[in-house]
Symmetry: C2
Subunit: 98 residues, 2 copies
Amino acid sequence: MTPGCCPHYHEAIELIGRRWTGAILAVLLSEDRPLRFNEIAQAVPDLSDRLLTERLKELEERGLVTKRDGAYAVTPMGRDLEPALTQLQAWGQRWLTA
Amino acid sequence: MTPGCCPHYHEAIELIGRRWTGAILAVLLSEDRPLRFNEIAQAVPDLSDRLLTERLKELEERGLVTKRDGAYAVTPMGRDLEPALTQLQAWGQRWLTA
């Protein structure tokens, strides 16, 4: 890694590190079609509607998610996070399952 | 991605998503030798000594960092995060530099 060079690394980590954001992105990335609010809510059972609304709004504002006809989908910017999140998922399975 | 299957994905994201943790790991991962507290502090200028102490302690407790003879190094578990963090860094450079 190259530390210090990349102020946006920090920003990227804070963005995905917000509570529930990773889970919401995982749900949207796992489907090839846009998902309705209730479908996302059902896939992340412990997340309140209020927080889901807030997080989706943030993701929209940051350009990772779009809303169209009442359904949510990842943008190319959001889709491009998949390799990083998949790596994190694999790391968690390797090291946190003890 | 496979959502829902992996409780540890959530945990992994929260772990690296804590403020400064990603920056500290990037510094440790960029060197092949253990680093002293002051070396890490200098490489992350905006981070207070108090918070650096706290974060290093957390990383030690979680098994990502070890302390030996007053210097800090990543463990194999910490080193194994490098691909995910490098991907996040690259994503940030692609999408957040506009």
